[in-house]
């Protein structure tokens, strides 16, 4: 916990450099557990965070794991990923918890629409019981 982490404790310049001064990714589709896969190798002159991400994602790696390894807040990592996705250097495997999009919610209704599919939960149960 006490290790250096760019988000709060130290060099704000690093955050600025990594993001080009942006505070939000324009592509807001990344989840904490979206799995990122590199589609190419780093090239000379590429910003170091981009290059590191490409090396780390030769096998699928979740956004939150990249954030932990790069010691950057999740939202900053999403900005870098957004750039890599735009240029086709990575692909993103987004989480799926239901077969169908969630039902529209009426005002005041209990938001139970987010319940995952029973079939996905059954897979999870099998996996947990086999641990």
């Amino acid at each position: 916990m006490s290790a250096a982490r760019a988000g709060r404790d130290d060099d704000p310049d690093r955050l600025y450099t990594v993001t080009g001064g942006r505070s939000r990714a324009h592509n807001d589709s990344f989840d904490l557990v979206t799995l990122i896969v590199s589609e190419c190798e780093p090239t000379p002159g590429m910003p170091s965070e981009q290059a590191r991400i490409l090396r780390m994602c030769r096998l699928p790696t979740a956004v939150v794991e990249l954030s932990a390894d790069l010691r950057l807040p999740v939202s900053i990592v999403k900005i870098v990923l957004s750039d890599l996705l735009d240029t086709g250097r990575i692909t993103a495997r987004h989480p799926r918890t239901s077969k169908a999009p969630p039902a529209p919610r009426r005002r005041g209704e209990t938001p139970a629409a987010q319940l995952p599919d029973p079939t996905i939960l059954e897979q999870v149960l099998v996996g947990l019981r086999n641990l």
Partner: protein
């Protein structure tokens, strides 16, 4: 390599078991509880990897905030959290997040934990009052949960007393656990997913 290597460096990607190349679906379960209640211990007990730590920041009072009364002005909200993971099969990987239950954390709930399968509220029966807020917030967000009482060996309350103190809905499962035990931690997760399955199946029948 330096023998005095720190724990955080030792958890570098090279030493961590990577996911399968076929992994394509990440799922989330959140363990919420007060400081020192055993969240990280529970995550560690079942995780395939040594728990990692990271943080998220929110730099302005934006639309993500669902409780404006608690925000006096534009501020930077930072929450640290740790996590582990379990590969359930070649394609599916379950991420377990240990999250602090304090107030500022909930400002970031939607951004971090939208789409989470469900939550475990880990409680210490000596400090049940610390769990009230977490339970209230989970209900507010419509996130299904179970309550797990971590057994610290001095626990003399009955389940009924704990239920009453937490004002738990009768359908919310309450289990005892030892967060240090892999089997016990597994049991907590299975209890949660069975609960979710009941809710989800009931919903499919009625829709």
């Amino acid at each position: 390599m330096d023998s005095a290597i720190s724990e955080s460096v030792a958890a570098a990607p090279a030493e961590r078991k990577p996911l399968s190349s076929a992994a394509d679906n990440g799922l989330k379960i959140v363990v919420v509880g007060g400081f020192g209640v055993g969240k990280t211990t529970l995550v560690r007990s079942v995780s395939d990897i040594r728990p990692l730590n990271t943080e998220e920041t929110m730099t302005q009072a934006g639309a993500d905030i669902d409780d404006l009364s608690a925000v006096r002005s534009k501020t930077t909200t930072t929450v640290a959290f740790d996590f582990g993971r379990i590969s359930l099969n070649e394609e599916t990987v379950l991420y377990l997040f240990g999250a602090p239950g304090q107030q500022r954390f909930w400002f970031l709930w939607d951004r971090l934990f939208a789409g989470t399968l469900g939550a475990v509220v880990l409680v210490d029966t000596r400090r049940l009052d610390e769990s009230w807020y977490a339970i209230d917030r989970l209900e507010h967000h419509g996130t299904p949960f179970v309550v797990a009482r971590n057994d610290f060996g001095s626990d003399t309350y009955t389940s009924e007393q704990v239920r009453e103190a937490l004002d738990l809905d009768p359908e919310v499962p309450l289990v005892s656990c030892d967060a240090r035990s892999r089997e016990s931690a597994k049991h907590v997760l299975i209890t949660l997913v069975e609960h979710l399955h009941r809710l989800s199946s009931a919903r499919e029948l009625t829709s």
